[in-house]
């Protein structure tokens, strides 16, 4: 099997991650990185779009529980992730491909490492299996 590098999209909460780092510099080390004001602002559509566009995984980094600047955005994000994992499964997308982590890292130095870990895990799963039939059955089941 030839070397396969999965494509990951990484969202991170600005109040918890990398706010002391130079965003420009850090973005060179994290591919497809979207710092966002609150993880609760990530729409289900954004996540689904990422997979539609060919992402092999989506990683969300939220601030620690109880720390949300907007009260409960991180909780909302976690709820959304759990619900989406179920829906994605119906499309043959394993739940390991959507992950949410709560922590704080002002310098953001651990982000590339977390991305790498998830990337390795996703690499073991291989690319998303885009079976048209599967998608059709799933969407039919949803109607």
């Amino acid at each position: 099997m030839k070397h396969y590098e999965p494509k990951l999209v990484c969202f991170s909460c600005k109040f918890g991650w990398g706010y002391l780092a130079d965003e420009e510099e850090l973005s060179h080390r994290i591919k497809n990185w979207v710092p966002i004001i609150c993880s609760g602002k990530i729409d289900a559509i954004h996540i689904l779009d990422a997979f539609k566009q060919g992402a092999d995984g989506v990683l969300i980094l939220g601030c620690p529980e109880g720390d949300c600047h907007y009260q409960d955005g991180n909780f909302e994000a976690r709820k959304r992730v759990l619900l989406l994992q179920g829906i994605l499964k119906a499309y043959g997308i394993e739940k390991e491909r959507l992950r949410i982590e709560f922590s704080v890292d002002p310098e953001g130095n651990t982000i590339p490492q977390i991305v790498k870990e998830m990337s390795d895990a996703v690499a073991r799963l291989g690319p998303v299996k885009k079976t048209k039939d599967k998608a059709k059955t799933a969407s039919a089941a949803h109607r």
């Binding site: 497809n32 729409d43 907007y70 409960d72 002002p106």
Partner: protein, 596 residues
């Protein structure tokens, strides 16, 4: 590393509708509490890296409040109104400021002077306490040439009466000496108004176009009972609390001054507790006799702060509540004891009017009596300057602080009404504004009245309890070093993080000034798409998204004064009827997704 940009700097004055977080309303000078809490919570984890940002935050606070590093030791009024107080304890804002102070006080001597061209009128400020200096600071920044006339040989006034175990003397002196240097305020020491030829009229003849009189209350109030002065206050062994605090602060009292002595302190205010705890540290066996009741929540409750009372109690000071002093008993010219009838009520609807039950009277014996029942202004001086009415009251417009007898004289601070340090500072600011209006020939009242409206606590899944304030145990704190430990950087970040930022974004803008957001995006509702389902109402933690009827249809709306532009309602909306105007997040996401 973030750096605050001036473009995002919030000023309370700019906020429309004057909606503020409750802490900021409670603070007499409306300090930008929420904003600086957010910035503290985002400090780096290592002190070396955090230091420049601590100084940056402090510089910001200093602009508005050059006393903030003192407030960090002794104030904390804002905590009384914190929305969090019923949900786990108020945010320890005082200690957060002390944390900044611990770094900033050292830095003050390197702080550059304000480069203000001072070419406006000469203004005289009488009294170098917090009220006078605040007024001088505000006017000097506006280009007035201010001279402070200080009666003693040091600035600070009543602040020096605060014992150094609460406010270290070096913090106080560093703050004051740098304040006058940084703001370019001229100070004349040993210049006591009313003494010799120095009168207000002379100041006017010397070219001072306006005068702010903030002479404080230099004299102790004598003890009275039923409207009569209690006899025996001239006995040997009777003294006034202020005298004691004054002498201690000047280093004139030995460490074991009260060793083996039984002391009775009369009074129920913070100053009485300062006196009692000071006397305790000088070796005395101390009993406080307070007119007021133990229950602080009642009308007749003891006015001293909870922390003062518990601190005193821990230190072994006895507190006798609800007792007045009817008689001071002496023997051979020496103090021997007091007789204390029960106080049945302190205040009535008219005000202070204590009632006693003389049948219930106890006698207390002691070697020394320290009377600390308040302080009074220099009435004779005010009388000579014709600033009083026939009943001996100051005739001052309480709104502008302008004397109604002499238009160029403004009066404020303790001399007008005894209060906390920050209340005197507020009067200094009010006077500075009035003096500017007076000298510029502007309307004295227009646009000055502000009605502030507080915010309720946002909805949240969980709340955190406040951090434990660390006091040195009583047996180890019988000295004049600080007994309260300051916060570590880690504790400060954690505590600041607890702040639920309940106030409106317009008066904060911390996220904008450090580049997290570009502006405070407005939420727009597409009424064609909105079905009025109410998902946004459920998603909003700030009571901002709400439903309303328009032409018989239910649609959602957003109250922009309460909105935090967090975008939760946008995400929650099932029909994409909501949008944050000008928010670039969506484009940023699409850009990333496009190159996958």
């Amino acid at each position: 590393m973030w750096k605050t940009e001036s473009k995002g700097a919030a000023r309370v004055e700019e906020a429309i509708k004057q909606l503020l977080p409750p802490c900021q309303i409670k603070c007499p000078i409306n300090e930008d509490i929420q904003r600086t809490n957010v910035l503290i919570s985002l400090l780096p984890e290592e002190m070396e890296q955090a230091r420049p940002q601590i100084i940056e935050i402090s510089d910001y606070l200093y602009e508005k409040n050059p006393f903030f590093n003192i407030c960090g030791y002794i104030c904390g009024l804002c905590e009384l109104e914190c929305n969090y107080k019923t949900k786990g304890g108020a945010i320890r804002r005082r200690l957060l400021k002390r944390f900044l102070s611990d770094v900033y006080t050292e830095h003050l001597s390197q702080k550059e002077e304000f480069g203000v061209v001072r070419d406006k009128e000469n203004v005289a400020v009488i009294g170098g306490g917090p009220g006078g200096l605040m007024c001088a600071y505000a006017l000097s920044k506006k280009g007035y040439r201010v001279t402070v006339f200080e009666a003693s040989n040091r600035l600070g006034g009543a602040l020096w009466l605060i014992p150094s175990y609460r406010l270290p003397a070096d913090v106080l002196s560093t703050t004051l000496s740098n304040l006058v240097r940084i703001a370019g305020i001229d100070v004349k020491y040993g210049a006591k108004l009313g003494e010799g030829k120095l009168t207000i009229e002379k100041l006017r003849n010397d070219g001072y176009r306006a005068v702010f009189l903030a002479k404080g209350t230099p004299y102790p109030r004598v003890l009275t009972f039923d409207g009569e002065v209690v006899e025996g206050q001239d006995l040997s062994g009777v003294m006034y609390g202020h005298t004691l605090l004054y002498e201690v602060s000047h280093g004139n009292i030995g460490r074991d001054y009260f060793e083996g002595k039984r002391l009775i302190v009369i009074g129920g205010g913070n100053v009485a507790f300062d006196v009692a705890r000071t006397a305790r540290r000088l070796g005395g066996d101390v009993t406080i006799v307070a007119l007021e009741a133990e229950d602080k929540s009642s009308r007749d409750g003891i006015p001293a702060d909870e922390e003062e009372i518990s601190g005193a109690w821990e230190e072994g000071i006895r507190i006798v509540y609800s007792r007045g002093v009817e008689r001071i008993i002496g023997e051979h010219g020496r103090f021997k004891g007091i007789s204390c009838p029960k106080c049945t009520s302190v205040f009535d609807d008219e005000g202070f009017n204590p009632k006693f039950d003389c049948a219930d009277c106890v006698s207390l014996e002691g070697d020394t009596l320290i009377i600390t029942v308040g302080q009074v202004p220099d009435k004779a001086f005010l009388q000579r300057e014709e600033l009083l009415d026939e009943k001996g009251r100051l005739i001052v417009d309480p709104f502008t602080l302008q004397s109604l007898r002499k238009g160029f004289v403004f009066v404020g601070g303790d001399v007008r009404r005894i209060g906390f340090m920050v209340e005197a500072m507020k009067e200094g600011l009010v006077a500075a504004d009035s003096i500017e209006r007076y000298l510029r020939g502007l309307d004295m009242r227009e646009g000055r009245k502000r009605d502030y409206e507080g915010y309720v606590i946002p909805v949240r899944k969980s709340y955190k309890s406040d951090l434990e304030v660390a006091w040195i145990p009583p047996e180890k704190r019988m000295h004049f070093q600080l007994f309260e430990k300051g916060l570590t950087l880690r504790e400060a970040r954690e505590e600041a993080k607890r702040c639920i930022t309940c106030g409106p974004c317009v008066s904060c803008k911390a996220c904008i000034s450090i580049g997290f957001e570009k502006s405070l995006y407005a939420v727009e509702v597409d009424v064609e798409r909105c079905s009025g389902c109410g998902m946004c109402v459920y998603a909003c933690n700030y009571d901002s998204a709400h439903l309303t009827e328009v032409d018989g249809n239910t649609i959602s709306k957003t109250d922009m004064f309460k909105c935090k532009s967090c975008g939760m309602c946008v995400v929650a909306c099932p029909s994409h009827a909501r949008e944050l105007v000008d928010d670039g997040t969506e484009q940023r996401i699409q850009r990333v997704l496009a190159v996958l």
